[in-house]
Amino acid sequence: MRREEARHLLEAAQASEREARLRVALLGGWYLVLWGGVWALGYLLLALRPAWAGPFFALTAPLATLLTFYLGFRQGEAVRSEGGLLTFALWGLLTLFYLLHWAFLLPPRGLEGQSFLVSLVAFGLALTGALWKARELFLGGLGLFLLALLLYRLFPEGWPWGMALVGLFALLLGARLVWRWTP
């Protein structure tokens, strides 16, 4: 067998492995579409109409959480794996801890509360990346944390714009993945 053929087949196998893990970890891309949309619109409102941002997040975040769990259950019927269950448990626990924190300690009205939420999401992404051996997700989590840190420390007034851009990027990336993965 020629080396070129071996290289082609090995790359095809590696690409299949990577795509399968990423597809499950991102709920077929819908996870990014859903939360990217919520973040992009919510933070855009925070930048332009701050009074509307609170009610928007209060309404859409629980809806998006319910939709995420629905998508997770639906995927769990199609792909039954220990990694899937662990990811589901991880995001369920993160959501629970976030809600408890929001209710009893620090509502995300100011920058402190929001930065905590972003760190929690960044941690979840990085850990999901580690669970699924998906380098893109792992680096995405670290990148999100670094961006939040930079904005918080150096350009706090640019925080809503920065987060809106993150949301838009996630939304566009998710839409591209859904397009690619939906027959």
Binding site: R3, R7, A12, A13, E17, A20, R21, A78, V79, G84
Partner: protein, 96 residues
């Protein structure tokens, strides 16, 4: 290290890679697999039959509500064969 002629076919290699990537004991529904690989039902069924005959995958039929479903999983023998085939490809690349 020898190449496995059954897994060597590219579609079957991608199928085995996909199942192996989702972890041991992972079970994948037939239609999810079909969409992920971009195959027709008949094509996927034919590849799965060959792999099942070799003992590389196990196929289970069941119901979700009233709808009939088919799940596929890699057997330990199939996982070992896939990893060995992958190693053999890597050895060809490294050996020059």
């Amino acid at each position: 290290m020898a190449l496995d002629p059954l897994i060597h076919q590219e579609t079957r290699l991608r199928l085995m890679a996909l199942l192996a990537a989702l972890g041991e004991e992972a079970e994948v529904e037939f239609s999810w697999l079909k969409n992920a690989l971009g195959l027709t039902e008949g094509n996927l069924a034919s590849h799965l039959q060959k792999l099942e005959e070799a003992g590389y995958v196990a196929v289970r039929k069941g119901f979700v509500g009233r709808r009939p479903k088919t799940w596929v999983r890699l057997t330990p023998k199939g996982r070992a064969a896939y990893l060995a085939h992958r190693e053999a490809l890597l050895a060809i690349l490294q050996g020059g």
